[in-house]
Every structure is written in C-alpha cells, then in structure tokens.
Amino acid sequence: MKIDWASLGTVALVSLAVSVAVVALVSFALVGLSARARANAVGGPDDGAPPPMNPALGTAVSGVCLLAVAAIVVYGLYVIVA
C-alpha cells in the first residue's frame, strides 16, 4: 500500500498558505477601508484614539490587497478550467 505523502504534504502546505494569504489580505483591506469609515463618521463616540491610518493611505492599501486577492481568485478559476 503506497500513500503519497509528498502530494498530501504539498496539498496541505499550498492550502494553508493560500487560505491564510487570502484571509489576511481581505482583513488588511478591511482595516484600510475602516480608516475611511472612521474619517467620515461625524459626531460619533470618540475614544480619543487616532484613526489607525489616514483615509487616503487606507484606501490605497485596501486597493492593493484586493487586487492581490483578485489575482488569486482569477488563478483559482484558471486552475478549475485548465
């Protein structure tokens, strides 16, 4: 009985890396977008903490992150089709 440990290991590592990367990128993108939401909030309860980053930078960061996610999704589609 031959168990293909090598491909099992590959599947595990690739899955882990890609899943964590996608979730992390989306999370970062949402952190970036949050900066915008907070900047727009007028008269909300202010805990005194400064916004984590400036809104323009936040939007840019989230744009980059979401582009990277889009690239991964497109690659996933390519893998499905090919």
Binding site: V14, S19, L30, I80
Partner: protein, 377 residues
C-alpha cells in the same frame, strides 16, 4: 432486450444519485453564507445551482478517470453499477433525513464496493485502494480543513479587531459571496463528473461507446442539470446542521471557512490527493467555529457526524450488496430492486414532511441547541 433495459435503468439511477448528491452538498458551499445572511437562502441555492451547472461543463478530467482504481472494472456489469447506485442513493436520503453531511462519494464508492463483492467476489475489490483513496482522505480532510480554517479565522479576528465594525461585517459578507461561489464551482467540476463517469463507464461496458471515450454531450448536460437541480432544491436539513448547529457563525468565520474549503478542494483535486468536498467543508466550519472560541463549538454534533462518516461506506455497501444480489436474479429482480428503492425513498420523503426544513425556516434554530453529550459510539 435485457441489456438495454438495465442500461436505461443505470442512466436514470445515476441521474437520481446525481440529484441527491446535489441537494446533499448545497450545504458545503452555502451553509455559512445562509447562516450569516450574506445571501438570502433562495439566492444562495440559485447561485450554487447555476455554478454547479457551469462547473459540469468546465472539465471532464474526473469523469475520465473515475473508473480506475477501486474495483476491477472488467468484472463489473451494469447490474452491479445499478445496485451500487441504489445503495448510494438510499444512504444519501437517510443521512439527509437526519441532517447529517455525509460524503456522497463515500456512499457511491460504498455502494459499488458492496455490489461488486456480491457479484464478483472479494478479489474484484482493491482494498488497498479503498484505504488510500477513501479511508485516509476521510480522516485527513476534516482535520486539515479544520486547522487551516481555525488559523484563518483567528487571523481574521486579530487583524480586524480594532477596525470599523460595520466595514468589517460588510466586507466579509461580500467576500463570502465570492468564496461560497468558488466552492460551488469547484464542487460542480468534481461531483457532477462522478455521475458522468459512471454513465460513460456503463455505456462503454454495454458496448454503446468505444473503449476510452469521454462522456458524450448529452451525458455532460444531463449530469450537470441533475446536480444543479438538486443543489437548487437545497438540502435544508443539512444546511441547518452546518450553518446553525455547529457553532454560531459570524461573517469573518464564514469567509475563512469557505476560503479554506475552496482552496483545499482546488489544491487537492489538482495536486493529486483527492479529498472529500463534504468533509473538507464540514471540517472548515468546525475550524472556523473553534478559531473564535473553541467552547462555542457543539462538539457533540462533530461526534455524530464522525459516526455517520464511519458508517457511510459500510452501510451503503450493505444496501448495494443486497440490491446486487436481488438484481442479479434477472430482469424481475432488477424491477423489484427499483420498486423497493422507490418505496423506501417515498417513505423517507414522507418522514421528512413531518418536520419540514425549508428556505423559510432554515435559520430558525433555538440557539444553543441541546445536544446530548457524547454521541453513541
């Protein structure tokens, strides 16, 4: 002639199996999206159904290789395939009635193995292949998916802990629509293929197609349609179990679970270590629950599922064996099997009507459902 009758019976039964496969597995892609209300139940099953149909057309790689490995295909007849399919359908219906997400592939393999044992003896079943292709992946899939989804969930919560709540919720909701769609598409490219492979194999053994041919268009189309319709009907009982009974699922968890499931399914089917869609999706949901708070997960539910998974293959094999024994008595036997199967299916459906779960009440679960601690094991 007898031959053509049994071939027609196999094609119809295969499509019925495909249909049960569809509604059994809607939950894999959509349970968490429905639970977090990222999509309304109706929209979710429509999207999943459509993507399953699209997926069926994207690739026929799995269908081409379905016949290799588990049983010696030169020694099985259409009757054996018919009996195996009946076993698989019965088990799928029973687990659906109980709301348990068991693997349709295992039911199919089990049914075929049982039928082959009766018809051709133990020599025709390659038990080594059964272990490496079915048992081992069944153990590894949920654990791997669980660990990955747990890490991803933990990461999602840590990263967004101080971000704007509304933005995070909305963002992960949008992400869930995409990740759930990927799971549905990947499912379509995998599971509809099994039915195509079975039908094609039957047509080849019956001499209707030359050896080594791929599935003809009508096979691809009808298999894709059957699984899409099944998906659209929605296995609401299983969706409720996975979406509501495992743990309280929030949008970051749903996104992490679906992303992990989609990635693992794609990676496994393209890097050569096939894992079960159902077990990956289920493991990912448990992992996502545990990634936020392990105590919030109903581990008793996990115990019951594990039990169902262990029983799936032997149970479907037993039904397949009985069906093969009766059906191999001749045309009358085949008809008896079909009639009994239809009667049992009707009975299971009637039982489900006593406590129907539909798109309208799928999310109505008295939260923390009291689960008897420790499944009977």
């Amino acid at each position: 002639m007898d031959l053509s009758l049994i071939v027609v019976a196999v094609v119809v039964t295969a499509l019925v199996f495909d249909f049960t496969n569809g509604f059994h597995d809607t939950a894999n892609a959509m349970a968490t999206s429905i639970a977090t209300k990222a999509m309304s139940p109706k929209v979710a099953v429509t999207v999943a159904g459509a993507l399953n149909l699209v997926g069926a057309f994207l690739s026929v790689e799995v269908a081409r290789t379905i016949s290799s490995g588990l049983v010696d295909e030169t020694r099985i007849s259409p009757v054996v395939i018919f009996a195996g399919l009946v076993g698989a359908i019965m088990w799928n219906l029973l687990t659906w009635l109980l709301g348990l997400p068991s693997s349709s592939s295992h039911a199919l393999f089990g049914g075929l193995i049982g039928a082959t044992l009766v018809a051709a003896g133990t020599g025709a079943v390659q038990f080594g292949a059964v272990f490496t292709k079915v048992v081992l992946p069944a153990v590894i899939s949920p654990i791997l998916a669980g660990v990955i989804a747990m890490l991803a969930t933990y990461l999602a919560y840590r990263t967004t802990a101080r971000a704007d709540d509304g933005t995070v919720k909305k963002g992960f909701k949008a992400g869930q629509i995409l990740s759930a769609s990927m799971v549905a598409l990947a499912h379509g490219t995998n599971d509809a293929q099994k039915t195509m492979g079975v039908i094609t194999l039957t047509l080849i053994t019956a001499g209707a197609l030359p050896t080594g041919s791929g599935p003809p268009f009508w096979v691809i189309f009808s298999a894709g349609l059957a699984i899409a319709l099944g998906t659209y009907i929605g296995g609401w009982r299983i969706i409720r179990t996975l979406g509501k009974r495992v743990s309280e699922i929030e949008t970051p968890q749903g996104f992490a679970a679906e992303t992990s499931a989609a990635t693992i399914i794609l990676a496994s089917s393209h890097l050569g270590f096939a894992l079960s869609t159902t077990q990956v999706a289920t493991g990912a949901i448990f992992g996502a629950g545990a990634g936020k708070r392990a105590a919030g997960v109903q581990w008793g539910v996990a115990g019951r599922m594990a039990l169902a998974w262990i029983v799936t293959l032997p149970a479907a094999a037993a039904v397949g064996a009985v069906a093969a024994w009766v059906a191999s008595r001749g045309t009358a036997g085949t008809i008896v099997v079909a009639v009994v199967a239809i009667a049992l299916a009707a009975g299971i459906y009637a039982a489900s009507r006593r406590n129907p779960v539909t798109a309208d009440n799928v999310n109505d679960v008295p939260s923390p459902a009291p689960v008897p601690a420790g499944a009977p094991a």
